[in-house]
Structure formats: C-alpha cells, structure tokens
Symmetry: C2
Subunit: 343 residues, 2 copies
C-alpha cells in the first residue's frame, strides 16, 4: 500500500522518536518536569486542573524508580476519534463521505431515486435520510463502503479526503483536528507511550488519515470492521469488502476490541461520549497509576456546546461516572487556549 | 496486566532499539552490508542462498535513496509461529496445554470419564482423543480455553508455561524457539522493521510468551480469537471468554486478519505450511521489493523431517508455489548451523 507513504506523517513520527530517544540518552539526570517547564509541550492548553492532571500523571509513570513507574512497553494510551480528536458536529465526517458517495454512484443506480434512504440523500435531505434509523444507516454504509476491494476503497476515501471541506467552517476536514489533542498525542509519544485510536468509525476509513493527521500508524487504529473475503483475480489476491459487519466498535465492544487488537490494558484513555464509558471503566480497573479523560464540548462560540441531550456525542452516564470517580473532564471553553490550528 | 512485565523481553527490545537508533545517528555514511560483515547479525545461519536472500533484501530496502528503499513505517514483517518460530512436533504446544488442563479440571468434571474426547485424554491416549477430528478439538478447546476471564486465563497459561517441558527433548518449551529465527527477528528490528506474529494459535495463549521469547509485544500478535463478553462483577469490569470462535486465523483468514489488525501489507513474510500460503501470496502481490520465506523441515536428526505428507505443518501447495516463484525455502538441515540455543 504505497498510498500510505505520507511523508509528513512519517517525518513527524521519526522526529519525535529521535527526540525522545535522545532525551533519554543524553539527559538522564534532568527531571522531566524541569525539561517541560523550559518548553511547554502542551502550549494550547491553559494552565489548570486538566493540564496539571495530564502532566502530573506522565511525570509519575515515567519517573524511573518512582512508586508509579510504568515500563515503556506498558504505556498504552487509547483515544476515541470523533469528538475526542476532531470535530464530530454537525455530522460524523464519515457520514458526509457516505452521502457524497451516494451522489457519485447515483448515475449507475437509477432505482435509488425511488428508494429511501437514497432518495432523500439525492435531494440533499440528510436529516430525512437518517430518519430511518439504523436500518437506513446500514443501507447507506453497505452501498458506499462494500462491494469493492480494500485497495479500491482506500483510493476512493483518500481522493475524497484530500479535498473534503467541513460544512460549517469551510476548512479541509483534516484541519478539524483539535490542536490541544495533537499536542497531547505527541507529548505522550515523546514520553514513551504508544498511542492508539479506538473508535466506532470504520477502521479502513480512519486509517486513511490517521498517520497524516495524528501520527498514528494504521496498525494502531482499532475501529469497526466489515467482513472481508480473500479472492484471487487472475491469480492476484484481493480482499473484497463484504456487506456484513464483523465488529461494531462501540460501548462494551471497545474494551473487547482493545483486548483483541492490543492485548494489554491501557493506562491512559480519552473519550467524549457514553460510547467511551466502558473503555474508561476498563482502563480504570487496572492496577497502578491510571488516567481517564473526557473531552466535554462546552464552547458554543469556537466549537459546539453539547452533552446530555445530544444525539451525536451523547455524554450523560460517562459524565456522571467521571464526576463520581474524579476522572479528568476537559472543559473545552476554559481548558483550551486554542481549539483548531487555523485559529 | 503487570504479568507482561518481563524484564528480559523489555531489556532486549530496548537495547535493540537503542542500538538501531545509534547506528542511524552516528554511522550514516557506513553502508549496512559493511557493518554486518564486521559482526554477523545471523551467526546461526550458514552462508548460502537463504542467508544471502535475507541480508540482500534488508540491504536493498534500507538503502536511503536506493531504488528499493522502503520507509521504516512500512517495513512490516509477519511470521507464522508453530513450525516457523518454534517446534510444532510431535504436537502443537497449545494442545499439550489443553490436555494438561483437561487433566487438572477432571476432578470437577466426573462425567468426562465416560465422554470423548475427554475419556481418551484422561487415559493418556492423545491420538484417540484427536481421532474425533474438528468436533473433538472444539470440545477440548471450549473446555480449557473459555468460561473464565481473560486475566484468569492469562494467569493459568503463564503458570503452566513457566514449567512446561517438551515431550521429546525435555527442555522448557520456551527453549524450543529456533535460534536462527530469533536472530532474524532481532536483525529485522535493528533495521527498522516492525515484527508481527500471524498464527493460527489462540492469540491470548501466544501473547503469554511472545514478548519474553520473541521480543514481540502483545499488540503485534495476531491469532485466532474467541468471542469475549464485557461484564461488571461487583462493579469491576471483566472480559469473559465465550465458547464461540470469532476469528480462525488460518489460510485465507491470514491476509484478512493482517488487514484487520495491521492495515498495511507486509513486505516480508515467513511461514512453514500450506496454512501460510495466502499470507505469502498477499505479501508477494504488493508493489516494490518483497521477501517471502518458508521454513522447510528437512532435519530428522536435529529436529524433524516432514512436509507433503504431514498432518501437522502440511507443506505441499506452498512448496510448489515457492519453487515456481523463487521464494526463499530455508533448508533447516543445510541453512541452519544451530537450531536451538541449547545445542
């Protein structure tokens, strides 16, 4: 898959790895907290309890000989994607992709004009298309994400993402990543953590952007997955994307898929909705130092403000549990100096 | 999972990473082949076509600016486990574990004395137990690998492996890893490769030994997996191992699971049986430099000699295809100076 050769992503990761290794080799006597004070690794975070909780945790688990030290191999950090690492309003990015694919495929599918949910999509009525609930969604996903090889899908998704704009900001969607979270990912990696995405999004869709946007290689992306079929086409093997869902990586499936893919319990996990509750519970239940975080969307001016009543990013039970257990709840309005890199 | 803190494994990996980084930082002008000539990274391999194919391939893909250069992020290497990285005769190691578990559990299951395949196992007649084919095997695996939490299983497997001896050599089973393959794994990692196990064995069983024996962390082990269920026990989350198989990682499933877990096509793959054929085909079909290898069991004196007629490690079609396509076929008798570290 040569198309995953994104020089920017690779270089960024290479630099971080080298920087982290060099600091370990040549500055072993310099305490990490002192080094951080010299150049703030989280410049888009306001000083406050959330930032302190993060830097305090990282200092504790990386302190050789300290009571909370965790060997690098066990520094597993997992992040939800939509609403945690980038914006999910007014609609999941992957759904916009699916709607655009329906429009692009419509000339070959004339029957769609008389069939829901496709008829509504073709009229631009996205709300109407989604009124059919899960059955409608499954029809949309099957029509746009299956019936092709993994390589064909990757090319389609990559071509689309290169130009796809956010419907409200008009920015490239890849610019809708949260700058403070990009800094957090880099900061954790510089401190020996291995960062993973664990999201309900389609794993093949997320992998198209994960390395370029987040510096996270495809093998560290865990997502929902459809079944695949190995076929020989004129003697050349291909993997066909089938319409059946294999893994729906949401809620209680998240810890299950963490076990399946990673096989080690995270010591650090970040989400933003009730879909992330079980991942945070699973993380919290391990022994030793733990960090559980929620991104709370509180900034109606710079982003969106939503939680308990929202259909997208519904945050209710997880917010209660976070407050009860003193998990870190990031208040976007007060904790983040800057939300997007283009601000 | 603190039990995966195996100091030896971690240290070995740490040293290799540091060594690789240092060599990149301080010796950029020294060609890799010259450096290798000074200290042979594959001392248990005889000089010959197999060793030359490996070192030639690694030299080509790591040569900055060369026509076959592959960025480190794409240097994915996958290895089958049984018969490729360690001995699989006279019986898969995991099956010995299952038989021992049946014996240990028998006092709580008096009805097993009258039921196959358990009755045969309890009489020490392993051949008889397996005469029932796949249905018998499924009964054995369900009785010994499910109905407990992932952490309970990990502890049972780890305790067993610490003392389990190979039935023929009397050595600890963890010593039955092939020394030349351990050197190959370390050599690839020192050259920026990410090494994965892709095996039909149970993923949770293999992860117990992968870091300690091979230096491969759990998140880089792809195997067969049973379904899991997330449950709260007195408020504490556990993952219960269910009797249903989710993934049977063999034959055509191997490239599918490589896509699911890794999301990038390997450039280097090693197997030893027809169960690995599709993984090698999938690897071969990518663009750019590729390495496909088979371990051929040709040494009846030091190990075992078997291929086309064997029920374990059946190697027939893959051997034909390897010869046709000039893949590397390792002749254990002639290519390996030493097979086990204790020789």
């Amino acid at each position: 898959m040569t198309s995953t050769r994104t020089p920017s992503g690779i270089n960024r990761r290479g630099l971080l790895t080298t920087a982290a290794t060099l600091s370990l080799l040549f500055a072993p006597a310099l305490p990490m907290r002192q080094a951080q004070a010299q150049t703030d690794p989280l410049p888009s975070w306001n000083d406050g309890p959330s930032k302190q909780a993060i830097t305090g945790f990282v200092a504790r688990v990386t302190q050789q000989g300290g009571p909370d030290f965790v060997p690098p191999a066990e520094r597993i950090a997992t992040f939800d994607n939509d609403g945690t690492l980038w914006a999910e309003q007014p609609m999941y990015f992957q759904l916009l992709f699916a709607f655009d694919r329906v429009k692009a495929l419509a000339p070959q599918r004339p029957e769609w004009k008389g069939n829901e949910p496709f008829a509504s999509i073709l009229k631009g009525d996205f709300k109407g298309a989604l009124a059919g609930g899960d059955p409608a969604l499954i029809k949309i996903m099957t029509a746009t994400h299956t019936g092709m090889t993994t390589e064909e899908f990757e090319k389609i998704a990559r071509d689309w993402i290169t130009t796809a704009k956010h419907p409200k900001t008009g920015r490239l969607y890849t610019e809708m990543a949260y700058q403070p979270m990009l800094e957090l990912l880099a900061y954790l990696r510089a401190n020996g953590f291995k960062t993973f995405i664990v999201s309900g999004g389609d794993v093949e869709f997320m992998r198209v952007i994960s390395e370029q946007v987040y510096g996270i290689p495809p093998e560290q992306v865990v997502g929902s997955s459809g079944k695949l079929d190995f076929q020989l086409r004129d003697g050349t093997p291909v993997l066909m994307k089938l319409p059946d869902l294999l893994i729906n990586n949401d809620k209680a499936e998240k810890p299950i898929d963490i076990q399946l893919h990673i096989g080690r319990r995270p010591i650090f996990a970040f989400g933003n909705s009730d879909g992330d509750l079980q991942m945070l519970q699973w993380t919290a239940a391990g022994t030793g130092a733990r960090f559980m975080g929620l991104v709370h969307h509180t900034d109606a001016m710079r982003e969106w403000a939503y939680d308990r009543q929202s259909s997208i990013g519904h945050l209710d039970k997880a917010l209660d549990e976070a407050e009860l257990n003193k998990w870190t709840v990031v208040d976007m309005k007060n904790d983040w100096k800057r939300i997007f890199s283009f601000e």
